[in-house]
Symmetry: C2
Subunit: 460 residues, 2 copies
């Protein structure tokens, strides 16, 4: 077996104990909130049949799906002409029938269709699993990363939209974030705008352009709109809409005026208003609506996909892209033959949230998750005392280790130090005979005598 200098596959990461602790803290906080709102966890397999995934993410997406090579003599049935002409793309489906999950949405749609007889609608599920994309890796972009999705299918009620806003608010607050914005828009409003301009067929071009307002400003947006088939007269109509300002109430009222001739546009506004009405009744302090929610009609993410409300969340405490998003889609399961099932859901960007909490120093101390006490191993003789003690401490549910050999004290202390173990118990001949143990606090360096029962109380 030749020696291989080990390396990670490009775009992937190991997670050390300290990183796992922080990631689990985020996931567990999210899960608690999801469960409180009635969502249950499911998991789907890491790979799906290739045909389940292809054609769902556009041509570009299809390229980024990781395909798994068939096992065995995978070339045996490959046509000679494809091999000779090195037709990589055409050959794929002949040598690969499985692929890694690209997101959690398509596997969820497959799940709903396959389990439609076992689940009762509305079906509320969350799912926290890795996905894989053959993107070019760069800072903050990985080929393996976790998605945290929470969706409900089979319910048209806008109570769901309202609750997702509360879920975002509660989850991010629980993670210690103070200042963030939950942006809301509605696909129907965008359709309405395209309609009143008289260019409904250009809705995608329009939204792609105005979505860039933050980055390129009004002048940039206008330039792009002109390039995409809009006229100077169209820009005149669009300008007040794009530059909409003031409170949510004011924005909605202005929009109602502009869109008064568009049935679909008014429907979009009414949907936002109904969601807000639900939130007001749920949260009578109106804190969530007034401080955290912002109507933003330049928000257009996933337009090909969403049919109703669209969400996006960003933190205002750290410079960072969006840390979450979602919306309503009216035909999630149609691609698998189950028509007319509406759904709405949001997603949390775990990797970005990880970085935000790191930068704001919001991780709680790692209480209880790591070893709390290291018993120093002096020599073989004292093991007759330390081993039963070790067992009693564990019976009291304390995470404790005995250093496995009588190594030099310095080495044992440095082990405790590097592992972040907060207390060290020193037991030599004197401690064995008196029963008074020496407890060292690794943070302060203080050392004091303590008996076993007080030790258990202190560490529990």
């Amino acid at each position: 077996m030749a020696t291989v200098k080990p390396s990670l596959a490009k775009g992937t990461r190991d997670f050390s104990p300290a990183e796992m602790l922080k990631r689990n803290y985020i996931f567990n906080t999210l899960k608690r909130v999801f469960k409180k709102y009635g969502y249950s966890e499911i998991q789907t397999p890491s790979f799906e049949n290739l045909q389940t995934l292809t054609g769902k993410y556009g041509d570009e997406g299809d390229q980024l799906i990781f395909k798994i090579l068939n096992s065995g003599d995978y070339l045996s049935k490959a046509p000679n002409d494809l091999l000779e002409s090195k037709s990589s793309t055409k050959l794929i489906s002949l040598i690969s029938e499985k692929a890694l999950r690209y997101d959690l949405t398509v596997p969820f749609a497959r799940y709903v269709v396959m389990h439609q007889n076992d689940i009762s609608l509305p079906f509320k599920r969350f799912q926290i699993q890795p996905v894989w994309r053959a993107d070019r890796p760069q800072r903050g972009r990985y080929r393996e990363f976790y998605q945290c999705d929470v969706d409900v299918v089979g319910s048209e009620s806008l109570l769901n939209e309202a609750e997702f806003i509360l879920i975002y608010h509660e989850a991010l607050k629980n993670l210690g974030l103070q200042d963030f914005t939950i942006k809301i828009n509605n696909r129907k409003i965008l359709s309405g705008i395209a309609e009143i301009i008289g260019k409904p067929e250009l809705i995608v071009d329009m939204t792609v352009a105005i979505d860039k307002l933050d980055k390129i400003g009004l002048e940039g947006v206008n330039k792009e709109l002109l390039g995409r088939g809009f006229t100077a007269a169209d820009l005149e109509i669009l300008r007040p809409i794009i530059l909409l300002e003031g409170s949510n109430l004011k924005k909605l009222s202005a929009l109602k005026h502009v869109l008064s001739n568009s049935e679909i546009g008014l429907k979009g506004i009414a949907e936002i208003e109904e969601s807000f009405d639900y939130i007001s009744k749920l949260d009578s302090s109106n804190e969530v609506l007034n401080q955290f929610v912002e109507v933003d009609i330049t928000l257009a993410r996933g337009l090909n996909y969403y049919t109703g409300c669209i969400f996006e969340v960003k933190t205002n405490e750290v410079a960072m892209g969006s840390i979450g998003g979602g919306g309503r889609y009216d035909d999630l399961t149609g691609m698998f033959g189950l028509k007319g099932l509406t759904g709405v859901g949001v997603s949390f960007g775990a990797d970005r949230i990880y970085d935000v909490l790191e930068e704001l120093n919001l991780y709680p101390e790692a209480k209880g998750d790591f070893t709390k006490l290291l018993i120093v191993n002096f020599d073989k003789e004292t093991e007759s005392f330390t081993l039963p003690l070790l067992n009693r401490l564990r019976k009291a549910n304390i995470a404790v280790e005995l250093y496995p050999t009588a190594a030099k004290l310095k080495k044992q202390m440095s082990y405790a130090d590097s592992k972040g173990i907060p207390f060290v118990l020193l037991i030599g001949e004197e401690e064995v005979s008196s029963g008074q143990l020496s407890l060292k606090d690794m943070q302060t360096g203080d050392q004091r005598k303590i008996d076993e029962s007080s030790l258990i109380v202190e560490l529990s």
Copy 2:
């Protein structure tokens, strides 16, 4: 987008909310025990560079590794002659540079080598992640399944072996199992036996044969040994060893006699004795050693790999193969150029444990994990009462849902029923005006009046 009738990739599974709950119960129980013994969680990526994995699992294993097709024009650099001759095996490394994790051990070895400057030895880690194998799927064998590994590297102390036996005992007891056997053997004892027969080169043949004692009996084993190069005289020496009976003490004492001329054999016995000595001191009741541990020299799993103690665990309450196993390996990281690092570890078979708990009906009731209360939605008017109530109950940390629309009562009750929600709150005009809510217990069918504060106490 053509409609695809959805199906799962062969050998993979979805996990429903009820299944996730049970799986999480197992994983969380194991994690608690691992942490108490000083083990910390790590995770490694789902795919590794192909060269990290190949050559580590034997030829048969290499075939079962799922390879990921390179992205883009993967055929462009493939030599024409390999394509023309359809040389599937030779082509692999030219069109695939990544592969799915086959087990947790090799990625762990890579992790240790790559992070050797950040970790302090002994390094105690656990890892619970899926692995993938291109095996032919059959009942109980999947292409994606979870492994739960707990290992320590960098410590020769047999305290580690002793603690793994205690970890098995405590974890399985915590899961509710009463009667199970932790079998222990030592590779050095097997070497010693091969040595006294004078055929050390046949150690693998010998152990493969005697490993089958349970299945094919002594006669079958003898037949196989004769076929593998042993003589009738060898069988005479082997017979009393294979049929070793009685207490662990008796077995070890008989073995000492048989192996008195084999230094390595005696070393193996001494290692088991020292582990047992540690256990006796830790668990002074000797319950673990006397009731749960059995010396079994026919145990030979992973022989090419293990160099010291070997473990295997089986339950005696249900007919099922082993539910765990492990051992000591003296050169885990040598394959990646870091020599001389010893390790010992065990693994829990999560899928089999899942089935065992199912069969013995050992899962606790799903308290707190699912929605506890459904508020029935009567009409739009009562929402002014039910929405603020919903929010207050959630603020009291109760998992509660309001049915999102005023659907027929029967439909709402059947939703609660199918989701296993234990209580339903009925709020109509009368309840709104009196403040006395109607609480229905879905299990008993009883219905009674309750005020909000009593409800919170009852459901908390």
